[in-house]
Amino acid sequence: MNGLRNYIDKIKPNFEKGGKFGFLHSTFDAFESFLYVPNTVTAKGSHVRDCVDLKRIMIIVVLALVPSLLFGIWNVGYQHNLAIGGDWGFWRMVGYGILQVLPLYLVSYIVGLGIEFISAQIRGHEVNEGYLVSGMIIPLIVPIDVPLWMLALAVAFAVILGKEVFGGTGMNIWNPALLCRAFLFFSYPSKMSGDTVWVAGLGKGEGIVDGFSGATPLSYATGAQTNVADTLNSVGYSLWDMFAGWIPGSVGETSKIAILIGAVILIWAGIASWKVMLSSVAGALFVGFLGNLIGGTPYLELPAYYHLVMGGFAFGTVFMATDPVTSAQTEAGKWIYGFLIGALTVTVRLFNPGYAEGMMLAILLMNTFAPLIDHYVIDFSISRRNKRIKSLNY
């Protein structure tokens, strides 16, 4: 191990200012600090520092996403097997899933990290770890068959216009992963919606068994003429199926069990706010119950808790609404922000026939309003405190 350290120390001068590869300083630094916690000591202020850093936080988030990823890989193979009516074993499904998912990851990380490195280089900053998480999330929220060039374009858009123009990780207004998805959704709707995009190979239509539709529970629910729960049951999507996740959908969003494992990791590590998660669930249930009360159409009469297991609600609530940069930052603000995300999501689902899923739009909209929520929360809290101090009269 000392050999590696010695080698790095030997080549390091080449990458410093004035060295042969001085222009690659940020890149070298990124790799070096990936391998070794740097030997920088404190110069000002507190002489000792907590051993947590952004790398640690980001790696925990990545870890929390791993169950969803693993399940997603299997489910891609499983759904394809269903579609072609095959009799694949477990490993064949996994193998097929890996072949389908891996290219998405390659594109996501190569394009995204490439842009991160270049912009860090231009600015002379250190490379920020933020994209490790965004790059992990993006393949999990797109349809499996999305063409790779589209994904590359969307990633580039999200990283450059969603993040770097604002100054990089920590300065962005919108969640980069969702911005990537929104770009795909509005630019190439035919690849992002409809019934045939959610199962690998279904779009091509070759060798698909008769009667296999590939539609997601949400599209059944939107189009249902009779009792939605019964309709879902009749096509084989029971509540348990939707909870466990063996249904068509974006790669990582289907298994609520895997997402819950991730949620536990994030809350335990104190990285994601349980307040946002809880209030988002409360918001969704609230509008769902309102729908139940109003009634009239089959979808409105669907029990509210169904919304929690359908579509990307759970994934968005746990992994994307809670992004500490783009969510509300005050404690009271988090309750409001989360509640509105849940409420808006279900509102879009129930009252807007154009969009089957509202999670993405709800989070992006609330990202936009999060600073405003914080502004009013802080104003309120400061004026309340000032009043209290005035009344103390010491």
């Binding site: 350290r5 000591v41 202020g45 002489h47 051993c51 404690e331 405190r385």
Partner: protein, 451 residues
């Protein structure tokens, strides 16, 4: 009692090397130094030159803008060197100390002295700089009448000196100090006790003060936090704070008319051998402590003060005016392979639950000065308020300081904090942002703009 305040936020950093409750030696230093940089906002104007002989209590320099404010020598001897830094900034005035200290004789303050007489007396004896004003933590203006005066009777900083032990024989002096200060304020003198030692502390016997009891982790012992909970500073008001140690010196001066500037200092930290208390004059050279520093394991950093707010000094550097603690720890200038990716790092402490150190709450750590990461933008926004038991928004305040936006700084509470209050925010920051430095910049801007 209604004055019991329980603070639930904060953090006691579990660092090794707490000082044992005994005085292991008394240092008679060869050289002492007074450092003008210890005092915020003071532009020093020298009153002595190299080679002058001085007594304990002879003024060495004064403040250029407020020339009544004098800074005196803590012992008698010869001015050996005047050390300047970049742009000829005055850093240290070193005095080679005599074997026997000779004291400048000041008259003893009369019992019925007026406010003007008291102020004049404290100024002449160099005792005025022991007072700190809030907002900003500067030396107060001589004409200002503070709304109240706040004294913290305990120090909650990492490994801090136990004031109840150190000052147990100084209660008379402290009482004399309080009696004098009470004539300078229009309000009350508030003394904050530590709930954990409330029954036993000798400060319980002080007269003419209002007691408050604080329970909680650091920064519960910071005067700023206490003021925030007792009676916050509003715009346009000033309050004073005074360190208990310095109050004892001030009280002694009032009683006897001599500047007996000595203190009992805790020598602490993971690289301190036989961590214990040492008696020494103000501004003593720490080279006299060299046998208490463990240099066997690489080079060390010596800090005048605690690990959160102290100042890095050389191994032959000098104790700061306000400090009553020396901390020695290892320099963390080494690499750790894939440190951030290890499942557990048993030798490192983290406030964050992403490591497992929270499972061993009793463990003490051999901390070093490694920054443990790289500097980034603010990403995690809710960790800071977990260690700040004040009704403030620290990230917003720091961003206002960065933006140099005076209105916002005012709104987010710049009047209520000084660097030490936000030091823990800096400690826990995963983005390794220099929060105290940024806050200093903000305070200096306020001083400049509001002057």
């Amino acid at each position: 009692m209604s004055n019991y305040i329980h603070l639930r936020k904060g953090l006691d950093i579990p660092i090794e090397g707490k000082a044992e409750a005994r005085i292991s030696k008394t240092i008679v230093p060869d050289i002492v130094a007074v450092k003008p940089t210890d005092f915020r906002g003071v532009t020093p104007k020298l009153l002595v030159k190299e080679g002058d002989t001085v007594k304990a209590g002879t003024a060495l320099f004064k403040d250029k803008l407020r020339p009544e404010i004098l800074f005196v020598s803590p012992c008698s001897g010869t001015v050996e060197a005047i050390v300047r830094g970049e742009k000829r900034k005055l850093l240290e005035i070193r005095v080679k100390a005599d074997k026997e200290t000779e004291y400048e004789k000041f008259p003893v303050l009369e019992a019925n002295a007026s406010r003007e007489q008291i102020v004049d007396h404290l100024l002449k004896g160099g005792m005025w700089p022991v007072l700190k004003q809030r907002p900003y933590g500067t030396i107060p203006n001589i004409n200002d009448v503070p709304r109240d005066i706040f004294i913290s009777a305990f120090n909650s900083a990492p490994l801090a000196a136990d004031l109840s032990f150190v000052l147990k024989d100084e209660i008379d002096n402290i009482q004399a100090g309080i009696d004098v200060l009470s004539k300078l304020t229009s309000g009350k003198i508030h003394v904050s006790l530590n709930a954990d030692e409330e029954a036993a502390t000798p400060f319980r016997n002080l007269k003419g003060v209002v007691f408050h009891t604080f329970k909680g982790m650091h920064p519960a012992g910071n005067a700023g936090v206490q003021i925030h909970h007792i009676a916050p500073v509003r715009k346009g008001e000033t309050v004073w704070t005074v360190d208990m140690h310095l109050l004892a010196v001030l009280g002694n001066f009032v009683k006897t008319g001599i500047c007996k500037m000595e203190k009992t200092v805790a020598v602490t930290g993971p690289r301190a051998l036989n961590a214990s208390y040492v008696r020494m004059p103000f501004g003593s050279c720490v080279s006299g402590l060299s046998e208490m520093f463990d240099k066997s394991n690489g080079h060390i950093r010596v800090i005048s003060g605690n690990v959160l707010t102290g100042e890095k000094i050389a191994e032959d550097g000098f104790l700061g005016f306000f400090d009553n603690q020396i901390t020695a720890l290892e320099e963390g200038d080494k690499y750790e392979m894939l440190g951030w990716a290890k499942v557990v790092r048993p030798k490192k402490f983290s406030f964050s639950h992403s490591y497992f150190s929270w499972m061993c709450p009793k463990k003490r750590y051999d901390m070093d000065t490694n920054i443990n990461g790289g500097v980034r933008a603010f990403v995690v926004s809710d960790v800071y308020s977990k260690v700040l038991p004040m009704d403030l928004y620290p990230v917003y305040l720091i961003k206002a300081c960065l933006a140099q936006d005076i209105d916002k700084m005012e709104k987010f509470g710049i009047y209520e904090v000084i660097e030490e209050d936000l030091a823990l925010c800096e400690y826990v920051c995963p983005s390794k942002i220099e929060i105290q430095e940024i806050l200093s910049g903000g305070i200096n801007l306020m001083l400049k703009e509001m002057a």
